[in-house]
């Protein structure tokens, strides 16, 4: 038995590791991006000089051969699900018995004037960071051009890019389409709190502002035009408008695609013995409380864990516990657990508290009738995952939860 995993991110590698723990089959992991698994979430720290690429590798290089996980550095160009053969872009081939697609996401781009100019960036891969590094160095060492970057998108990648550019001393403007920072996830109050913090780090935050076009001189970015009519002189434009499943390369494979690779709750695609996990997978019929496409580190990991059990014959479906996620906005830590909408749904009430300094806030979501605890956002606090998950699972009351925050 030879299981081939395409993609050496957290989903594919977690699957490979747990599969190795429980079975003796041949395992091959393929990646075109890097030789070894690294933490994609740490890319910003490489750019900022907190770490080097090698620090972001969670396992030493000998780990893979010791655990008999074969690594192959190549880009897959085609899949033949009938013959069970992968075609690489250098015309080599590899046969598989079972195939796991874990190719993650790619950055979403827009079609508008100037998007192909040099100095326009996205942030997803190691190569993206290398390009950002070169571009930033060029701007800083050049006498011409504004020492300014414009970040398009007021979300997690957007704020990472702001911090990255600020760490190198560039001026930064951030364009946020919504009325407040990360408006599709955070409430207006939370977004405002974060915006004040972002501004305190020298970033100009422009809400309800979109990019209209990018203008260049000699092939390089020189200014952007905004929906407000304003223009900003800049030398770098970073697009952080979300990611989408990286599945275009499967167009003609016969594997059924929606936005991502369509799978059931056991990650099976329409093709025999072909599975998909992580960012690139899309549930045809998601488990309750789970989105069709899940694009965070933790879901990738949990899908990898679950698929490893399915591959060794366990009869299990994807069943993550209560939703959780976390992030860091410059110096502000953020954690979320359960279902937290931006504004209260009809049967919900939201309790919101923040301190005067704008360093901490809590938002607790509960059921309006029975006061059952449904979810929580915290900024500037660290709360225990196990504790909150237990509250959510046993349907604790909001009073019980809030009591924990009393001094």
């Amino acid at each position: 038995m030879h299981t081939v995993i395409i993609g050496n991110g957290i989903a594919g590698i977690t699957c490979a590791r747990h599969l190795r723990k429980n079975s003796d089959e041949f395992i091959t992991v393929i990646s075109g991006e890097t030789d070894h698994f690294f933490s994609r979430t740490a890319l910003m720290y490489i750019f900022m000089g907190h770490m080097r690429y090698e620090h972001t590798k969670p396992y030493e290089d000998w780990f893979w051969s010791k655990n008999r996980i074969a690594l192959k550095r190549a880009w897959v160009s085609a899949v033949d699900t009938e013959k069970r053969v992968l075609q690489f872009n250098d015309s080599a081939q590899l046969a598989y018995d079972r195939l796991v697609i874990a190719t993650g996401s790619r950055s979403r781009t827009v079609i508008l004037d100037g998007v192909n100019l040099s100095g326009v960036h996205t942030l997803y891969s190691l190569q993206d960071v290398e390009r950002l590094d070169e571009s930033t160095k060029a701007v800083l060492s050049s006498a011409q051009g504004a020492r300014k970057a414009v970040v398009v998108g007021g979300g997690l990648i957007g704020i990472e890019l702001c911090e990255m550019f600020r760490s190198r001393g560039l001026e930064v403007s951030m364009l946020v389409r919504e009325p407040s920072f990360w408006g599709n996830v955070l409430s207006l109050e939370e977004g405002r709190l974060v915006e004040v913090h972002i501004r305190s780090h020298g970033v100009e935050v422009l809400t309800e502002t979109e990019l209209v076009s990018i203008e260049g001189e000699a092939g390089h970015v020189s200014r952007v035009r905004l929906s407000s009519g304003a223009e900003i002189e800049c030398s770098i434009v970073a697009l952080a408008i979300g990611v989408e499943p990286n599945v275009n390369w499967l167009q003609n494979s016969g594997i059924e695609l929606g936005r991502g690779v369509l799978v059931d709750r056991m990650f099976r695609t329409n093709a025999q013995d072909v599975y998909a996990i992580g960012d690139c997978a899309e549930f045809r019929d998601p488990p309750s409380g789970v989105a069709a496409i899940n694009q965070v580190w933790y879901t990738g990991r949990m899908m990898g864990e679950t698929l490893s059990q399915i591959l060794i014959g366990k009869d299990v479906e994807y069943a993550p516990g209560p939703w959780f996620n976390s992030a860091k906005f410059f110096d502000l830590e953020y954690q979320t657990y359960g279902q937290v909408a931006t504004v209260p749904k009809p049967d919900e009430q939201h309790f919101f508290w923040r301190d005067l300094e704008g360093r901490r806030s809590i938002k607790v979501v509960f059921d309006a009738q029975q006061s059952i605890f449904l979810g929580i956002n915290v900024i500037g606090f660290r709360v225990r995952h196990e504790l909150i998950a237990a509250y959510l699972e046993k349907e604790a009351t909001s009073q019980e939860v809030l009591k924990r925050f009393e001094r």
Partner: protein
């Protein structure tokens, strides 16, 4: 822009001070006279050395080197003759180079000692504090931008130069102390003010060590001003260095009592049971008995009890002098520790090996103290005495490892090389921490993103991430509980805890990281 200029200027002051410091051993005037000789050299050696050195009386040496040669040649030629004629009791072991040079110093270095004192010690304090204040005055979070872009903190050329200077300094301090004499001259007035006697090279070293911990301690206080834990432990380290390591022993010496660092604990304080120290304590009346009892109490009771409740951090990163230097002056280099598995394997053999060596050496010394028998092993004309053991230990562990490697290698291998690979007390504390302590670093459910900040900034080279990403507590004998991993974690995963713990869960590994409900499924 102006601030940036001031900041560079401040750094420049520190560099000027370093330059003056490095030049000093090569300059100055030393006038050897019969009076100097009579004052310094022990009366029993007058006859032996005077005729050999007589020709140089009245001579003025430019730079200490010539004088050192003259003294050492005289002593060596006397000793060669004495040994050749088997007059063993006439061999001279005293090192007169330093004391004669100290007494013979004349000329501009002595005249300008206050100006030089200001240049060598005042400038770096002023420049250092100004630079630190401008760099960290309003920190609200982790300040690690550019750590791996700067040569000094990523083993670049500047780091190489700094490392070589540090190593050279320790070699001179331990084995060629006569060359420290121009530095020592600068701190003589301070030593005289505190204890009434002239400074030795150890007073110089103690002053510099304390000054560095205080100035770089201010850096830590500002860099981590948002963290109560780092503020408290840094303040404690500064306090214990200034009061316990520096001032109290000097005051004790002035009172003619055994000068002891009351927070130094055997086996780190490896000479605690040496005959001269035991005799000094036993001869010092009630206070001497207190010192002896306190020293025994520390390693027999205080260490196990405190380590049970708080882990070894109560000593290693709140109290200890080596830890004090590592946590302040060493902080810029913490990311250079080796995290590979092989380093951990070497570490375990090495640090526990030193502990075994320290215990055996101490037992041998005590055996000699009680029985008067120095010889331990005699095989075919080859013999080992307890004096051999303790001088090997002093050379290899006390000086070479703790000093030269321990601090000189900061810019290459990080700030805890000694603590991690060599400190016998750390090994002892570590055994308690690993097997009989409540202390552990917990990992918050499934929130780890494997980014690697924790492992990168672990000064002890622990691969913290490997535990965090499995949802396992970090329980490692080497962990000094500095807490930087928890601070640099961008997801609030790590927390240092010493609350009650049921034991079984301390080092348990779960099949899956928390968050995936599949682990509740019955298979």
């Amino acid at each position: 822009m102006v601030l940036k200029g001031i900041r560079y200027g401040a750094a420049g002051l520190v560099l000027v001070a370093m330059a003056v410091f490095v030049i000093l051993p090569f300059v100055g005037e030393f006038r050897l006279t019969e009076r100097v000789f009579d004052e310094v050299v022990d009366a029993s050696h007058h006859e032996a050395l005077k005729s050999l050195m007589h020709d140089d009386f009245g001579r003025t040496f430019i730079g200490v080197h010539g004088l050192v040669n003259s003294v050492n040649e005289a002593v060596t030629s006397w000793n060669v003759a004495a040994k050749a004629e088997s007059r063993w009791d006439e061999v001279i072991y005293a090192d007169y180079a330093f004391t004669i040079a100290h007494a013979a110093a004349v000329g501009w270095v002595v005249d300008a000692r206050w100006l030089l004192f200001f240049l060598v010690f005042g400038l770096p304090v002023i420049g250092g504090l100004l630079f630190i204040w401008l760099s960290y005055r309003d920190r609200e979070g982790v300040a690690h931008h550019g750590v791996f872009h700067r040569a000094l903190t990523s083993r670049g050329g500047v780091a190489l130069i700094l490392g070589v200077v540090l190593i050279a300094f320790y070699v001179v301090l331990y084995w060629f102390p006569a060359y420290t004499v121009n530095w020592v001259l600068l701190v003589d007035p301070i030593s005289e003010a505190i204890s009434g006697s002239q400074a030795s090279q150890w007073f110089l070293y103690g002053s510099m060590y304390t000054l560095v911990i205080l100035v770089m301690g201010v850096r830590m206080l500002l860099k981590y001003q948002f963290s109560p834990y780092h503020s408290l432990r840094t303040a404690l380290l500064m306090f214990f260095q200034l009061c316990f390591a520096f001032i109290i022993p000097e005051v004790l010496a002035a009172l003619n009592l055994p000068a002891q660092d009351l927070k130094n604990i055997w086996p780190l304080d490896y000479s605690f049971f040496f005959d001269y120290r035991l005799d000094a304590m036993l001869d010092a009346g009630t206070f001497g008995f207190f010192l002896l009892g306190w020293g025994l109490l520390l390693f027999m009771v205080v260490v196990p009890v405190m380590t049970y409740f708080y882990g070894k951090r109560w000593y290693c990163s709140w109290v200890c002098g080596c830890g004090g230097l590592a946590e302040t002056a060493g902080d810029p280099f913490r990311q250079l520790s080796d995290k590979r598995l092989i380093a951990w394997q070497v570490e375990r053999w090495m640090v526990h090996g030193v502990l075994v060596f320290a215990v055996l050496m101490t037992l041998a010394v005590l055996y000699t103290y009680w029985t008067g028998e120095a010889s331990l092993v005699q095989v075919a004309g080859w013999s080992v005495s307890s004096y051999d053991l303790r001088s090997w230990y002093g050379f290899a562990i006390g000086a070479a490892f703790a000093g030269v490697v321990g601090t000189g290698f900061y810019p290459f291998m990080g700030n805890r090389v000694w603590c991690r690979f060599g400190c016998p007390l750390a090994a002892y504390l570590g055994l308690i921490q690993r097997f009989r302590s409540r202390f552990r670093i917990t990992t918050n459910g499934g929130q780890c993103i494997s980014c690697g900040n924790c492992s990168t900034y672990c000064e002890m080279g622990i691969d913290v991430r490997s535990y965090a990403q499995r949802g396992q507590n970090i329980v490692r004998s080497s962990c000094v509980g500095c807490g930087i991993c928890a601070t640099v974690c961008p997801r609030g995963v790590l927390k240092l805890e010493n609350g009650a713990d049921d034991g079984a869960s301390r080092t348990e590994t779960k099949p899956f990281v928390f968050g995936n409900n599949q682990i509740h499924v019955n298979w």
